[in-house]
Assembly symmetry: C2
Homo-oligomer: 196 residues x 2
């Protein structure tokens, strides 16, 4: 192992892979979709989800205007859709038309849900917090969409059934493999069997 | 496809997989390590990284007391380490001792860097924001550690060389596979070749 330590770096990719989600928005009669890899769950009871979006993005204005967004999760088979919406701006391209993106109505918000998504979270903005060169939008999850067939019996994504699009940075992508049970409590207690 | 829509759900796993990071902390002579899947980059220029941690966690108190944390990324080969630190509390177990965790000094902060990590971000808390049942700690990245051998020539993680630990929810884990180039700009313009 040859390790390197740095004190400053503006381009840090080491936390990847992250699911390349597609964030959709709607305001003033316009729809947009952008690829977002900077997102995370924040709270479980009151479900809250966060997405970090640069004020330079067309999506940013739509979310500020509407106070709403949808985080869509699309399968590996549709990875080119993620790359396409990530490769141009809604200020220049009406992406839904240009790329033939099929949508479904959200249950609560006006922003569209992608028909190709295996899951989607409809969110209402609770707070927008400027941090460095991005704004973090923290949204209350007001509706969930998910494809039963993409889930294992434990209600979790099964990489054997649904193949997420993982972003590696730059123009590189990967997907997930495996579905390994690690009994955390038993491992911590030293009572687990040999590594599976 | 059989889709389901719900208006409320306290357990939502559909955004997974997410890298199961190990967040380390240090205060009052105590170290701790916990598994955190709710984390994201927030800003590039001023590098800022966010981790969502419940106030119930032992780590929470250490981060509040010290104003510092480290986000460590460990390889699939060390997945049991992630599961172990995720399977017990630092209020009951001195995890570094119990699990024989090898550490290196941080360059800037007091919280330990894991010797087994292929990358780590040292962070200083800029802001702690209570959101629902978690606190979101937004940290200025003050030092980066990374293993040259885990990176591709483009300075990105190469799943062919470093195998991240991805969390699926519950006690389930996966890793990443593939390293596919999708030329976003060319795909958006319709000038890309056939799907690779």
């Amino acid at each position: 192992m040859s390790k390197v330590a740095q004190y400053q770096l503006d381009e840090y990719y080491y936390h990847y892979p992250a699911v390349a989600s597609v964030v959709t928005s709607h305001a003033d009669g316009k729809n947009n979709a952008m690829a977002v890899a900077w997102h995370t769950a924040i709270s479980r009871k009151s479900p809250i989800y966060g997405v970090a979006i640069s004020p330079k993005r067309f999506t940013h204005g739509l979310i500020v205007a509407s106070g709403e967004f949808v985080v869509n999760f699309v399968p590996w088979e549709k990875r080119e859709l993620v790359a396409k919406v990530g490769g141009c701006s809604g200020s220049e391209v009406e992406k839904f038309l240009a790329f033939g993106i099929v949508t479904a109505s959200g249950k609560v918000v006006q922003a569209p849900v992608l028909a190709d998504a295996y899951a989607a979270y409809e969110c209402r903005v609770m707070e927008r917090r400027a941090m460095g060169d991005h704004d973090l939008f923290m949204g209350s999850i007001v509706a969930l969409h998910w494809d039963k067939e993409a889930l294992s019996k434990d209600s979790m994504l099964d990489p054997g059934q649904a193949h997420p699009v993982l972003y590696l940075g730059g123009d590189y992508y990967a997907t997930a493999k495996g579905n390994v049970l690690l009994d955390r409590a038993a491992l911590a207690k030293g009572t687990a069997g040999p590594m599976r």
